[in-house]
Every structure is written in C-alpha cells, then in structure tokens.
Amino acid sequence: MSRPKTVRSLRDRFAIGASLIPPVALLMIASRAGWVPGSPRVYLAAMPVVLGLGMLFPTLAEPWHRRFSRMRSWLGGRLVFLLLLGVYGVAVVPLAFLMRLFGKRPLDVSRSGSSWVQSKGYGSLRDPF
C-alpha cells in the first residue's frame, strides 16, 4: 500500500521550518556563554538555513514540529494561566475591595425577602449585550 502524498501549503511548510529555529537560537545563546563551541554568528547564519531545509523537507521535520507545537501550546496555556492569576491579584481583588468599601455588592447574597426582580426587557436583538 502506498502512502498518500500529503500536499502542504507554503504556510505549513514555513511553520514546520520555523519550528527548527528555536533550538538553534538556544545554541546561539549557549555559545555566547561559551557552553558550546562556535561563534554566535555561525548559529545566526544557520537559522535561515534550517528554516530553508525544513521547508524543503517538511516530512522529515514534521514529527519535531508536532512535538514542538504541543509543548508550545502547553507552555502557552500555563503562561496565560499565571498571567490571569496575576491579573486577579492586581486588578480583580483590589477592585472588589474598593467596591465593598463603597458599599457596592455585585451579588445579592442576602437570605431574606423576595428575590423577584422586575424585568428590564430583553433589549435590542441587534446588540450582543
């Protein structure tokens, strides 16, 4: 059985090639610190080369690209999580305390009295609010 030939768009090829750049960039940083041989310039020059190779032979670089993408999205998710945790600490919590200071309570948590609220109408269908 012959494998079906995958047709890749230029954009996909570029993405696959580009995923080879970060390891080279890491090597460049390492060479600056003197941990690996060679000058940073060589690594800099190697970047377009690996990009080109990745674009020319996408099938070879694909497994790496897949793993790299997974790692990147995992890392991205963690970063956004931490970022939002930070926003909660510096924006939401202070705003919440300020509101309480001014006697504004977004949630009606009292336990007595009717909880019926007069309807304000449905609003315009054109507006998403």
């Binding site: 998710g77 956004v80 999580f81 931490l82 939002l84 945790l85 926003v87 909660y88 600490g89 939401v92 919590v93 705003l95 919440a96 305390f97 509101m99 309570r105 977004p106 949630l107 009606d108 948590v109 009292s110 336990r111 007595s112 009295g113 009717s114 909880s115 019926w116 609220v117 007069q118 309807s119 109408g121 449905y122 609003g123 315009s124 269908l125 054109r126 507006d127 998403p128 609010f129």
Partner: protein
C-alpha cells in the same frame, strides 16, 4: 422562502435550528453528529445538517440568531468574581481563556463558520431566557400563555416569568444568579457522584428509592422558599465557582461526608439526598407556577429551561398546579434555545431588530412531533450496512413491523431506527431501543446488558394515545415523554412487604413491571398517528398480537454515548451491546447472523 438560523452552544449541548417562513424545518443537536455527548463546541456540523436538510446554503439566510448576549454574560462572570474575590483566582484563570478564545466575538465566529453569509444578513442575539421562553411559547399550541423558564443560569436570570400573546413575549419578572434551582440541583448531582449537566436524570431516577429525611434541613439551611414563589440559596453551603463540585466543606459536613466518587457505591444517604432535593425542587417549581399564574392570569403554562426536563416535577405542576393546560418544549435544555433564538428573531418586533412575522398557533404544536433531524434514504442505509459487512434483509413496512413484533413477543430487545432523528434529549420512537414491558426482568436486563448502565435507571413506556387512560393517570397527552404520571390502580399489583433502598427494584408492582417505577409511577409517552405514524402502527400491531398497547421505549445508545444518529452509528451500537434485533429503515438484522463480535465504536465515551 425566508430562512432564519438559530444557534446555541459553547457551554454544553450546542445545537442549530432552521426556520423557513416561520416553519421549523430542521433542528439538530451537535452531539448526535459529532458523537461526543453534550458536545459544547461551536455547532458547525448541526448548522451544515440544517442547511442540507432544507437544501439551501448560507447565502439564503435572512437572519442568524444566537441564544445569548455574550457581552452581558461576560460582564456577569466578571462581576461574580468581583463578588467572590479574594477567593476564586484559580477558577478565574481557568474560565477567562475560553472567553477570550472566541466566546466574546460571536459575530466574527458565526461569519467565519458561514462563509457564504451575505454581509447584510444580520446576526442577532436574544437573551438566554428569551430564547428559552420563545422555544416554549412560540412553538406551543397556545395563542396566549404564561411562560416559566428555569435553568442553571443565563446572563443574570436563573428563573423568569413572561407572558406570551400572539407572536409577542413580554418579560415580567426574574430571579437572578446566584439564586438558582438548576444550580442547586446540579450541586446535589455532583455531590452524589454524577456528572453535572447530564447526571441530573440519574438523581431524579434515584429519588424514589430514598426517604425525604433531609427536606427540613434543606429548607431551613440551604434554600428558603418564599410565599411569593421566589427562593434564595444560602451561599454559605455552595461554591458556584468550584469546578468539580459545587458544594463546599461546610455542606459536606452538614450532609454526612465528602462527595461520592463516581466509582464508589451508592449509599442510603445518597438515595435520601436525591429524594429530598427532588422534593424541594418540586415544591419550588409549584410555587413558581402559582406565581406565574398570579402574574398572568392565564390558564395555559409553557415551560422550558433545563429544570423543565424534570418530568416528575412537571407531572405535579399539571396535577396540582393552577393551570388547565401545560406545554413543555421537548428540547427544554440549551439545545432547544437554538430553536428559541430563531423563533424570537422571526417573530420579534421590527424596532428590536426582529422580522416581525405574525404567528398562527396550530392545534397540536409546531414541533413536527419533535422529529426535526436528518433522515437517511433506504439506499444510504443499505450502502452503510454494506460497508460494515452487515447481514440484512430488506423488507416492506408491513413485513418489517411483523418481524419486529415477533421478536418483541419472544422477549428480544429491538433497536428501532426510522425516519427523522428526534430533537431533544428523549428518543420518541425514531432512534429507540424497544422491549416488552410485561417482562419483570426486562428493566435489569436492558440496563445492565444492553445499555451498560446502573440497574436503578427507570425505563419509559410508549403507549397508544387512545388507550393511555387505561394504564396511566394522565389528563391529556404526553407526546414528548416529559410528564410522569401514576400507573392506573387497575394495573397495580400490591407489594407484600416493602424492601429497603435499591432492593425495591426487584419487586413487581404492576402488569407493566419494566416501566413502573418503585413509587408506582411511569414517565409516559403517548403515541398518536398524526405526529408519529410509523411508531403508532408498530404499537398497534403489538397490541393486536398481545392485547398490550405499551412498549418499553428507551434511547438508542449505551452509557456515555449520544443517541445514535445514522445507520452506521446504530449498527455499531447494535453490535457492541446485547441488542438482539436491529430494524433500521427497511432493513432487518439479527444479531446471530452478523459476522462481527465487536466493532470499533464511533463515539468518544464520556465518563459519568
């Protein structure tokens, strides 16, 4: 023809619905096509299916309506966090990415999903409860009615009363988050070890096995019911921001332990809790129904929202409530809100951006029996079966019915896939598993061997509408299986001694043991020849042979699987369960003659 598309989703149960000149042409829930239960992704498959069923493309649409106001809901989410801070940081960091990733810019999302959509075609937004109210009233047979919608939460409203007249809906009163019956019921669902947004049925099915010994505690400490029908939750016991369960440590201490893990056995405590929360919910709903009656003075009530799927409570509203007639949207959950959004846009007044079409209610209702999904031609069915190497006989309707009735009488379990797929959570005789209700061991057998689910889960009877009064104490019809009614006394068999808890399951209580719940009730589906001709004909034939006009009707799926959609889904499910016979379109298949012992399943199993 003028077409309006309605869309719901992104939280749970995504769906799409299509109107043509105001008639409901198609409505499909995403899970049936994607094979992922309660699928919450943007309903691209359902949209395509609706357009295909009508033979149109996005170019032909005159309006698209979404069932919520995303900006209002987003701001409510932020305000809830502001009210909850400094707690809730983790929940915030988990919830916000979904919003930023595409729940906010719905216009953009809808346009990119419908590339042919004309730029002048408006994208409209109803509120969550407006969509529910529209799905309940505008599809109902009533020219005017009180409308009660109850669910977890939409934008702010969790409960709403409105009045429907002609094509217009006038909102009257609301109860706002965090005071929510749906949320409370879901909290107990999670606490008893079931999955929120789908395990609520199980809690309701479990309730009759328990004692209502927590009712007073609940009413004193967790929810207060007021004279005017409104209610308030005590937030000291609940944690609406917790992700896996909605209850907190104080709740767990008060109700005798930590939440049940799904793999741990059910204890008496859980049965009692189920019974108690069910009782409180029924009482609250009766109060709301009385309020709706008082505010509108109408003799008719329309119900929708997830809580309206609580058919035990619905039965009590009909029997004990102040209304003469009750109509419940069969897709009462969020899937039905896709239909509601489309209807609200079609009939909505011009100044609000609607299409201002008049409405003429029909004597039954405008749901087409609930059969609004796709249907495969006999040729397509045979092509699918051929691809799967199945062995089948093609029969005419007469012979097919005869063979199926033979099998049922012989105690066999039959998979029955005919006509258009149902819209809404219940299988109504188009994607059903059928069995003989007179057999005492049928409930356990179908639960454990066929559907691989808990033995306590009850089954529903489908009964010829013209003979339902002989068997069930039901005034009027129940074509959508949304009402629980007592089994008639003439059919009851006294039980010698009461067993305890789940042991009560084994006792025979009526001439229809497989569909009689332990409390002597049944979730009835009345089958009439107008809405459901083929299923009616099958029941007629079963009645002619046995004298019994009732069949067990349960949805065609196994635990964790959405109800089957296509012939292929049904064949896979047939092979992988212990269903004896499959009747799909004109094709008749017997288990012993199939070459497979098992087939790869086509769905993503969702754990309970």
């Amino acid at each position: 023809m003028r077409y309006v598309l309605g869309i719901s989703g992104l939280y749970h149960d995504s769906a799409a619905a299509l109107l043509g000149d105001g008639r409901i042409l198609a409505a499909v829930q995403e899970e049936r096509l994607s094979r992922r239960k309660n699928d919450a992704r943007f309903p691209e498959r359902s949209i395509r299916s609706c357009l295909d069923q009508a033979g149109i493309t996005a170019v032909d649409l005159e309006a698209v309506a979404f069932y919520e106001k995303p900006i209002l809901k987003f701001s409510r989410t932020l305000e809830v966090f502001l009210g909850w801070a400094p707690r809730g940081g983790r929940a915030f960091a988990r919830a916000i990415p979904d919003w930023l990733g595409g729940r906010l810019d719905l216009r953009g999302r809808i346009r990119s999903a419908l590339p042919g959509l004309r730029s002048e075609c408006p994208i409209l937004f109803t509120t969550h409860h407006e969509a529910h109210a529209a799905s309940a009233f505008l599809a109902s047979p009533f020219p005017e009615a009180a409308i009660l919608t109850v669910d977890g939460v939409g934008e702010w409203a969790t409960t709403a009363i409105a009045r429907g007249i002609g094509a217009q809906i006038e909102p009257l009163e609301e109860i706002h988050f965090p005071h929510s019956l749906g949320l409370l019921y879901s909290a107990f669902t999670a606490y008893c070890g079931f999955r929120v947004n789908s395990g609520e049925y199980k809690l309701m099915g479990l309730a009759p096995y328990g004692e209502p010994r927590w009712v007073e505690t609940l009413l004193e400490e967790v929810i207060s019911l007021h004279e005017d029908g409104s209610f308030r939750l005590n937030l000291e016991y609940l944690d609406p921001l917790a992700e896996d369960h909605l209850t907190n440590a104080r709740f767990h201490e008060r109700f005798g332990g930590p939440p049940r893990r799904p793999d741990k056995p059910l204890e008496k405590r859980h049965l009692d809790l189920a019974r108690s929360i069910q009782g409180v919910t029924e009482r609250a709903l009766l109060g709301l129904a009385r309020r709706a009656h008082k505010q509108t003075g109408s003799a008719h009530l329309c119900l929708a929202g997830g809580v309206a799927l609580n058919c035990v409570a619905n039965g009590r509203i009909l029997r004990e409530g102040p209304f003469q007639k009750l109509w419940i949207q069969p897709a009462a959950g969020d899937a039905g809100a896709a239909l509601g959004a489309a209807l609200a846009a079609w009939h909505g007044p011009l100044e609000r951006g609607g299409l201002a079409a008049p409405r003429t209610p029909t004597a039954s209702d405008s749901m087409g029996g609930g059969f609004l999904g796709p249907e495969e031609s006999p040729e397509a069915v045979e092509a699918s079966l051929k691809r799967l190497d199945a062995v089948w006989e093609r029969l005419d309707a007469e012979a097919l019915h005869e063979r199926v009735v033979e099998a049922l009488i012989a105690g066999k379990v039959v998979g029955w896939v005919q006509g258009r797929m149902e819209f809404g959570p219940r299988a109504l005789g188009h994607r059903s598993i059928l069995g003989d209700p007179r057999s005492p061991d049928m409930q356990s057998r179908m639960n454990l061997k066929v559907k691989f689910r808990e033995s306590f889960r009850p089954f529903a009877p489908a009964v010829l509408a013209e003979r339902s009064a002989e068997f069930f104490g039901l005034s009027g019809e129940s074509p959508y299986m949304l009402l629980v009614a007592p089994v008639d006394h003439a059919q009851r068999i006294p039980v010698a001694s009461e067993a305890e808890g789940l042991d009560r399951l084994k006792q025979v209580r009526s001439t229809l043991p497989a569909v009689t719940h332990v409390d002597g009730s049944a979730r009835v589906q009345t089958v009439d020849p107008e809405r459901n001709p083929q299923f009616h004909a099958l029941l007629k034939r079963f009645e002619a042979r046995t004298g019994c006009p009732v069949l067990i009707n349960t949805s065609f799926n196994v635990r964790g699987e959405p109800v089957v959609g296509s012939a292929e889904d049904s064949y896979r499910c047939f092979i992988n369960s212990q269903i004896d016979v499959l009747a799909v379109g004109p094709c008749y298949l017997e288990r012993e003659r199939q070459p497979h012992a098992a087939l790869p399943r086509s769905f993503e199993a969702i754990p309970d």
